[in-house]
């Protein structure tokens, strides 16, 4: 980038330009440099290395050879990878809207009603965020368990068969529940903070115009916190597509329900660490990363909200 195209620089206010310019370059890079090194070493380098590795294949005869895109062809025709990808996509479509609706409803309630109890509730609802996802999954695994969970007691009380949330029919919803429990409170806090930032004069004006509470919520509050909603949507999408912790933890409890290829990430983990097939594991990682990146970027682009977020 040249000096001329530097954006909104306040040139001319700081004495001799050339000297100031050079100093700005040096100081800027001194501040950004340490992060830049980490960025290169731990993001760019692994990505480049993964790309490189993913172009090779270990053969029975002749050692490791260059195969160009064969691993990717293999991945995108591999039923395990495809079914895992399909699972996380379906899972995103169900769990993300649910989490956001729950979080939004809670944030709107907490914004509208102020009492000691709502302040207490806000903290309690946020609490699961402080719990590692692994521990959250362990806890819910207990609650779902037929040997020491409360579901069995509850359902036998009414003479019904308890649902097996770790069984293959319901595991999807079992996981949706865990994820919602884990993240809805965090999203609620972000939305709540955004709601608190709205100028109350707007509500007063709306009331003067005869708007009811619902109209204020739908027409003023939600549109004004749209950027925060959007941010949450993007982050939950990135998080959900790389789903790993919860199904990996529940695997030992839900024997037979959750296979090693349940999600693409679990499949990559299995390929790399259980089967020592690092080339194919890298290819899956890279393909997954690519899908997430392209998917999110396309989403940002098409919703044309890019500027409000970035």
């Amino acid at each position: 980038m040249t000096e001329k195209s530097a954006p909104d620089a306040q040139d001319g206010t700081r004495g001799p330009r050339g000297k100031v310019r050079l100093r700005e370059h040096v100081m800027g890079w001194l501040f950004v440099g340490p992060f830049g090194i980490v960025f290169l070493a731990l993001l760019i380098a692994p990505l480049a290395y993964a790309l490189y590795l993913s172009l090779f294949q270990k053969r029975l005869i002749g050692g490791t050879g260059f195969v160009f895109l064969d691993n990717y062809v293999k991945a995108f025709t591999d039923p395990s990878f495809l079914s895992g990808s399909w699972f996380v996509i379906r899972f995103s479509l169900v769990s993300i809207p649910l989490q956001i609706i729950v979080a939004l409803a809670m944030a709107l309630i907490l914004d509208a009603v102020t009492s000691l109890f709502t302040r207490f509730s806000r903290l309690m609802i946020f609490l699961p965020y402080a719990i590692p996802t692994v521990i959250g999954a362990v806890m819910w695994g207990f609650l779902y368990s037929r040997s020491f969970g409360p579901l069995t007691d509850l359902f036998t009380l009414f003479g019904a068969t308890p649902p097996d949330l770790l069984g293959s029919n319901l595991i999807f919803y079992g996981l949706v529940n865990i994820v919602t429990w884990q993240w809805a409170g965090y999203y609620m806090i972000i939305l709540y903070a955004a709601l608190q930032g709205i100028d109350p004069a707007l509500y007063e004006a709306a009331r003067m115009d005869g708007a009811g509470k619902w109209q204020v919520a739908l027409r003023i509050k939600i549109p004004l916190i749209a950027p925060a909603l959007f941010l949450i949507l993007v982050f939950s999408l990135i998080g959900t597509l790389q789903f790993f912790n919860e199904p990996q933890i529940l695997r030992s409890l839900a024997a037979g329900t959750i296979g090693p290829d349940f999600t693409p990430n679990m499949y990559a983990y299995q390929q790399a660490f259980a089967l020592a097939n690092f080339n194919y594991g890298s290819a899956i990682s890279f393909a997954l990363g690519g899908i997430v990146f392209v998917g999110v970027y396309a989403f940002l682009f098409f919703t044309r909200k890019r500027r409000s977020f970035l």
């Binding site: 362990v138 207990f142 930032g197």
Partner: protein, 302 residues
Amino acid sequence: MISDRPRAAARPRPQRRPRHRPQRHLPLQVLLGFLVVYFLLPFWWVVVNSSKDAPGLFGGGNTLWFADRIDYLGNLGQLFTHDNGIYGRWILNSTLYACAGGVGATVLAVLAGYGFAKYRFAARRFSFSLVLGALMVPATALVIPTFMMFSEFGLTNTIWAVILPSLLNPFGVYLMHVYARDAVPDEILDAARADGAGELRTFLRVALPLMRPAVVTVLLLSAVASWNNYFLPLAMLSDNRLFPVTVGLGLWQGIASANNAGGTSLWSLIIMGALVSVVPLVIAFFTLQRHWRGGLSVGGLR
């Protein structure tokens, strides 16, 4: 722009609520009550069941209420003595990883965020768009490649394998950039420079105090991210004395479910272990809530 900063409480604020609205909204509060019960249910289960021994757990009593014998201390003792006190090690490891990763990532993010916000240097726009692009790279996609790279240098199965990757926090840089741009006026920096303060001094004495709420937030977020991390240490570490508590409990859970009958004594340890492992973060969140509440709104609001 950036609302509800913790400091804002000290300043005169535009009156948030008109006085004449002391409405109770009873149905909403009841609904909220149900939600609170839902969100607390797993904690309640763990608090109750960590008081039970194996017979109490599997004896078929009420799973949501205490058994006749309440034995927190016995279970705690067992938890910290089992397998030569490996659990205590896991907690210490988690603390080390969270502190080192959190502090390191925060320092880097604060410096870079401030640099991006306040200096017009060469390739600034390009580098910043790289950082923004990195927000969209899924963290787990980096784990296997990083493992491969670290194994070339013999870094796997060491504490560095967990700490170094935690230093990368593009979201923290983004957050600090937004905050520094909005909360640190250029005029103040120029005034400090005019008074003869060097760039570093200007940053430390003038800008940093103004950025404090966001610094605390980034520190908390990155420490929590390190504490919660599972995939990275699971892939990197094979020596269970280096495990953080997440991987350790996952290991125990796998063992306990694998031998259903013989694992019964382990289950009470896992339940107690889950309880103990959440206590530090819950305390941290409650005591520091004044700080993080404000900072969280930074990223979402523009």
